[in-house]
Amino acid sequence: MLQIAQYTISGLASGSIYALVALGLVLIYRSSRILNFAHGDLTTAGAYCAFTLMGMHMNFGGAFFLALLFGSLLAMGFYFVVLVPAQRREATQLSQIILTLGLGLILQGLISYFGGMEPQYFPFPLSDELVYNFGGIVISQLSLGTFIVGLLASVFFYLIVQKTRIGLAMRATSENLPAAQTMGIPTRRILALSWGLAALLGVIAGLFLAPALLLDPFFMLEPFLKGFAAAILGGLNSLPGAIVGGLILGVAESLAGGFISVAFKNTLAFLIIIVVLLVRPEGLLGKEFIERV
């Protein structure tokens, strides 16, 4: 019993990372029907930005903040410089997805060129080795911090989307683009904001993952794919679904790793993708997607 609780707790910590990644993906998918294949690489770029700044003796807080800013600006820049011209030339949904893939490739190449291919240790104020013991359940300081930050970021994001005027505009834009435009909402700016916010969530996840894994140009690939799995599990167009999906995936993975085999742990996410898409493509909390002829 204690073992199950232990695995669940450590699963929740990694699940909150997946939830953050999935939130970013869902946010972009909901607002512009684009799957962002560059999400992982945007995140990596943010983490490298923080790493470089800390290498220049900046304190952690400043580097953290600037990395978030850098990631969001990168995403917004991509939206304005590449996606908008493509949309003006009537690019299909598929080619917009491929454009994000192109951005991912470019970022990946640039990061490997400037950052080097060797894995690097990422300095972080929270420690991976310091553990707290709650009645037999052990949790490291880093995992606890990750979980709390994941929770805070989700709540903060929820408040933005549900309680502010900008959030209202974002919801309107994703619901019905032409209607939102008619109502005088600057949809292009709102969409750019969604991209920025999504990248911000991703960079937070990346910064908390980097100390647990080592920092190398591909360290976000696997968490990014799992974020995808989480988003699918929860429903690609549902924001609460992304959080629920992320947490479920984290716990399931941790339990599978503990009780079945460690090798199976990594494959589980992809099995989940395939099974969910076969059985219930709209996900746990997503609305069914109906196409009219």
């Binding site: 690019a91 997805i97 470019i106 490997s112």
Partner: protein, 326 residues
């Protein structure tokens, strides 16, 4: 374009006599190439040939049928390792190669089943999940991947006393030639038109009597057959196989080749394969920049030239033909 008067004309691969001359000259130069060019160039051309097969298959799926797949590396791996295991058992290479294609084709059918329900982005994720899952299964299972050191495959020994590189060149040239002709025939047959109809509008295609289930699955199966054959040939040519040859990046490379070469064009597939092989050669001093070149090319092509390199080539030809008018 030009007027086609009969069905027989429609089925012709090359319609105009001058185009026939150019295509003939191109093939002739390919035949003469290994005797003139240094063996390094021949070697690169062989790899381009091998990739051309997979890119054509991928183009049948993405360009003609409009179904997206990021799981192509999985079919490469399945084809490659099927070939490797059979070759180890002493099965002759042609049978193993066909078996590699068929095995990949069967898995293609399995992956194709979700495509009946899923569209666009959802299908992209499903195939992506499949690709990564297969890769991890091969990484984790040493029985499947032939051990930690990878799987050694005996290379073909040259026949007719030819030097090894030249023999391999002609061997792959013949196979690619057969597959290219096959692709042209698939595209101009009922099957190809059914694929195109599904791409343009699947509901309308069903209404005019295209069996959606059959042709979507067929498209997946054929494309994975091609990819499986590519995997087998790659293993045969390289002489060894290991799971790390079939990462997600490999699937992306095939995908990029299709996009850059030009969707729905066989010539484009060949150009795209040449592109993804030549760029890393040209940029060999800056290996990390290769993805950047791919990415920038994707941007340029999707924004300015959606038909890819082939579209650009057609426009240039049209410009020269109509000169001085425009």
């Amino acid at each position: 374009m030009d007027l086609i008067e009969s069905y027989r004309d429609e089925l012709k691969i090359i319609r105009k006599p001058w185009t026939q001359v150019w295509a003939g000259l191109f093939i002739l130069s390919l035949i003469l190439l290994p005797w003139i060019a240094p063996s390094y160039v021949t070697y690169i051309t062989i790899i381009i040939f091998i990739y051309t097969i997979g890119v054509q298959g991928q183009n049948l799926l993405i360009g003609y049928t409009g179904q997206i797949s990021f799981g192509q590396a999985a079919f490469l791996a399945i084809g490659g390792f099927t070939f490797g295991h059979l070759a180890r058992l002493g099965v002759p290479w042609y049978l193993s190669l066909i078996a590699a294609g068929l095995m990949a084709g069967i898995f293609g059918l399995v992956v194709g089943i979700p495509s009946l329900r899923l569209k666009g982005p959802y299908l992209a994720i499903a195939t992506l999940g499949f690709g990564v899952a297969v890769y991890q299964i091969f990484v984790n299972s040493e029985t499947l991947s032939g051990g930690r050191m990878g799987m050694i495959i005996t290379k073909l020994s040259p026949l007719f006393g030819l030097p090894a590189v030249i023999f391999h060149y002609y061997f792959h040239f013949l196979i690619v030639f057969v597959f290219t002709i096959l692709t042209y025939n698939i595209v101009s047959s009922y099957m190809g038109r059914a694929f195109i109809a599904i791409r343009d509008n699947d509901i309308a295609a069903e209404v005019i009597g295209v069996n959606l289930t059959r042709y979507k699955l067929l498209s997946f199966a054929i494309s994975s057959f091609y990819t499986g054959v590519q995997g087998g040939l790659y293993g045969l040519f390289m002489g060894y196989l290991e799971p790390n040859m079939f990462t997600f990046m490999e699937a992306i490379t095939l995908f990029v080749a299709v996009i850059i070469g030009g969707l729905a064009s066989v010539e484009g597939s060949i150009m795209g394969a040449a592109f993804v092989i030549l760029v890393p050669q040209v940029f060999s001093a800056y290996k990390e920049m290769v993805p950047v070149v791919y990415g920038v090319t994707i941007f340029i092509i999707l924004i300015f030239e959606p038909l890819g390199l082939y579209g650009r080539w057609m426009k240039m030809r049209l410009y020269v033909q109509n000169w001085p008018f425009r």
